[in-house]
């Protein structure tokens, strides 16, 4: 199925490309100038995931977040996202932690995907709490 260039898609990709965060559908919507339908946003994001432009992470509340694939070595959707994500309980931002991790696997098991989410307080919010 051949892909076409549309406004919605380029807008969405640009938002993701120019942030270092993983955004929920809601957060993404807020960053978009033009209003784009909810279903469309999800369809675009899922297409990006299939194409390996973007990766999806699940937060501890069961909400999906999407991040631009920056340092992803392999092309297409073949690359593994073996890094953790950090979600701040206060400001709600989800970020990709750059540190690559090694995933231990029992003998005979096969991995297809990985989702690692750390929850807590980011530096900024942690400092505010200390006060």
């Amino acid at each position: 199925m051949k892909r076409r260039n549309t406004q919605a898609q380029t807008d969405i990709l640009n938002v993701l490309k120019f942030t270092d965060r993983a955004l929920s559908h809601e957060q993404l919507q807020a960053e978009l100038e033009a209003k784009v339908d909810r279903a469309t946003i999800y369809r675009v994001l899922n297409r990006f995931c299939e194409d390996g432009l973007v990766h999806k992470v699940m937060d501890e509340d069961g909400k999906q977040h999407f991040a631009y694939c920056a340092g992803c070595d392999k092309p297409n959707n073949k690359h593994q996202h073996n890094h953790f994500h950090f979600k701040c309980r206060k400001c709600g931002t989800v970020e990709c932690l750059q540190h690559k991790i090694h995933i231990p696997l029992p003998e005979g098991y096969v991995i297809t995907d990985f989702n690692g989410m750390i929850a807590g307080y980011c530096k900024r919010c942690a400092e505010e709490r200390d006060v």
Copy 2:
């Protein structure tokens, strides 16, 4: 708020205690002899989590799974669950991987919780696929 002993609670805790898996609400329901209301199951499980008897993990589909706290060092809900979970895409089981992991954190960040989920095929299902 003082806790009371009820049938539903002991049944649910027993199911979790005698399996090495993390169960979704649905899987748990299926293991219960007596029928227990969906809302009650969730309420019981959340209470167990608060009390540190059980821990909750989110799978990559955004579905909650609950596992008995076996090797959890610290008491109450203060302990960290610094181990990965593995979900088989074929048979659907979620298991706690015993290997304790170290979670890398940027300077100044504070962790409160961790959710690590590996998806793939368990040994049994992987072997069937090879055939």
